[in-house]
Symmetry: C2
Subunit: 417 residues, 2 copies
């Protein structure tokens, strides 16, 4: 580079992949609000207010409801390293890529990791998880709710009771699902849950909402170690300290709590963005937002089927906000994606692992869980598929999707809690 | 909270503390640019472009120049856990709070940590560091460049040679200093350097620029472990793996490098902001920006002295961008700060540790290294000090600071490399 580039000027994009997706306009506006100081009364009030907003998003009364400054996997690692002592047994049921990620992060935290796996495109029945819990006797069960790699939405409503019966901590990552699928942190007996903004919450990646039960906080508190430099006489120091400073949720809680003990410098713009994501969700109403995701997801599902495409996986258990579509024989998946992006400014997703090259993933989430976004995507997809030699029924996708939005479409699918 | 708050509406603030400071307007604008997909050609090109911009900021040819998604201490922890094997000896010379932080993070990474300390307000002569290196024989020397807790700027120009002579990796954290004080990653023989945006770079906290020498990369590569779920046959897996997934710089480099191996989902808005911080610095010119910081810092120093206040520490070694001022006897430091904030919208900083309640810290950095910001702060400070019963010379601060900006002031202080 011999010259300097100009200010950032992204091309127009309709992001209909598995996330990140186009942020809500008011979230982008919030990102550019002026900064205030770290201990400005406005700053601390905004942090407190944001905690309360996220309690309502998570549907919890957990005092320990905060943001971790980093992407969604920062939230996952913070929970894992804060809750897991080296040698602890951790059980991870894996039904897609992000289950592997939970196992991976638990391994790095030196847990004794036990996994069970199911075929990609399926979820686990409660009984299978209970059997594994009884066999492994883990300290922690770590279970993804929605895994975008397969589009599946693992039912969680019965798992909390299983964990309670066996004295197991129950943690879920809801990055891909929160805000677009039902979630009940307290109702489902969760001890820890993590998310990100870049899926159904409709914000940019870079802030990870986390909520912790009192029981989880108690474990974290027992491993407390206040850092040298701000440690005062009388501050206890556990020998079994958490092996990360940045992800020490005890210190993060002290920073968000009334003691306001300095840890990191809160990422102010990300806080503003995270606050607006939650505020918008609650302003529209959780039930309304879920219904909007359900409708947009049903319309996209009907639409791709209307184009004659085959949907991957157990559709009865898929998330509202993403569908995996098999790439027709003879079609180069990435060439279709590239045409959609370059000629229509529309992004759909590729896939990982066993599904790589086999399916596209199409999202309808957050701001883009909208009729115009769905219909535009289906119209463009039809045009590109035809160009690539696929015999698609003219208008077939748009027509049936429109019917779904107008309430005339058959209920091909309904969301499961 | 029974009702919902409105969109974020921060009060007007002139942030003249030790950071975070008011961001450049164009950085805030960049924060609200529309998102694109994670592998959009525009996204990957923007990542590559941002790497090149930061090479010029760091003054390095290091290929391994990236952003870590988190606040500045995320960058510190990423370097520490990626470079330090459990049991490695790490030497940390401590001259303020952030030296304690480096030692703390090294301890959490299970290093054998050795520290030397100097009085707050002083820096280390090269010979003292060399003596400690010879005695401890560490794998890594971790040394803060500018420590805002004391305002000191540790000279680094001679340390690289010492480390090279003794086969020691040389790492510095330049969060508080980069962009406002000279920095030469290659010229000073650094193996690793980290920063944040929220000081002289003039952006929000939440992204940590990092640069690594080839030697540092080699060590990190030897500890490589690609996560399950995206691991392919032939991918090597080290048993001595890095104990963090999020901070595994090997994986982060693979994500930023040509392989574009999926790790986290890059925090797009923070990337845009970080890019704009670097772009602005280079557009104005590094030398010009340093001169602007030097002038604003000299003016603020002259100004507080003109108000009859006593400056803390070894002024010959202070950073350009922050000054510590002793709180006059009988004055309640926090009451003055509170009046400045509430009545004038101006923030100055409190202090940590041994300086708590003893000094205020006043910053002149990034966007706020400006004449109007300096003069406004001095005028307001004069008014508030008078209200609190301090006998301040009328106009004394503003007058001498104005002289410095007009080139008529005595050069009370010049920056050291």
């Amino acid at each position: 580079m011999t010259h300097l580039p100009g200010p950032i000027a992204p091309p127009p994009r309709l992001l209909m992949g598995p996330g990140p997706i186009s942020a809500y306009p008011s979230v982008l506006t919030a990102m550019s609000a002026p900064l205030v100081g770290q201990y400005d009364p406005f700053m601390t009030a905004t942090m407190t207010e944001t905690q309360e907003l996220y309690r309502r998003v998570w549907r919890t009364r957990n005092d320990a409801t905060v943001l971790v400054d980093g992407t969604s996997r920062a939230g996952i690692e913070a929970v894992m390293v804060s809750l897991i002592r080296p040698g602890d047994r951790v059980l991870v049921p894996i039904f897609g890529r992000f289950g592997h990620l939970l196992a991976e992060i638990a391994e790095r935290a030196l847990a004794e990791v036990h996994t069970i796996e199911t075929e990609w495109g399926q979820v686990f029945p409660d009984a299978v998880i209970e059997e594994a819990v009884e066999r492994v006797r883990p300290t922690l069960l770590a279970l993804v709710q929605g895994d975008t790699s397969t589009t599946m939405n693992q039912p969680l409503a019965g798992i909390g009771e299983i964990c309670a019966r066996h004295g197991v901590l129950f943690y879920t990552d809801a990055t891909a699902s929160l805000g677009g699928n039902p979630f009940e942190a307290d109702g489902w007996g969760l001890d820890a849950a993590t998310a990100g903004l870049q899926k159904c919450l409709g914000g940019p990646s870079g802030s990870a909402p986390v909520t912790l039960s009192d029981r989880a906080v108690e474990i974290i508190r027992s491993r407390k170690r206040i850092e040298a430099g701000i440690r005062e006489e009388g501050d206890e120091a556990a020998s079994d300290f958490i092996r990360s400073n940045y992800f020490d949720l005890g210190m993060i809680l002290d920073y968000w709590g009334p003691r306001r003990l300095n840890h990191h410098t809160e990422a102010t713009s990300m806080l503003y963005g995270a606050r607006e994501c939650a505020r918008l969700l609650l302003e529209e109403g959780v039930d309304n937002v879920l219904a909007r995701h359900e409708r947009a997801g049903a319309a996209m599902l009907a639409g791709v089927q209307g184009l004659g495409l085959v949907v991957f996986g157990d559709v009865a258990h898929k998330m509202t906000n993403v569908v995996a579509v098999e790439i027709p024989d003879g079609v180069v998946g990435d060439a279709v994606r590239s045409d959609l992006l370059e000629d229509f400014g529309i992004e759909i997703g590729t896939s990982f692992g066993p599904l790589h090259g086999r399916v596209w993933r199409i999202g309808t989430m957050g701001y883009n869980a909208r009729e115009d976004a769905v219909l535009t995507t289906l119209a463009a997809l039809e045009a590109v598929l035809r160009r690539h030699g696929v015999a698609v029924p003219a208008g077939g996708g748009v027509e049936v999707a429109t019917d779904v939005f107008r309430g005339a479409g058959e209920a091909v699918w309904t969301a499961h809690a």
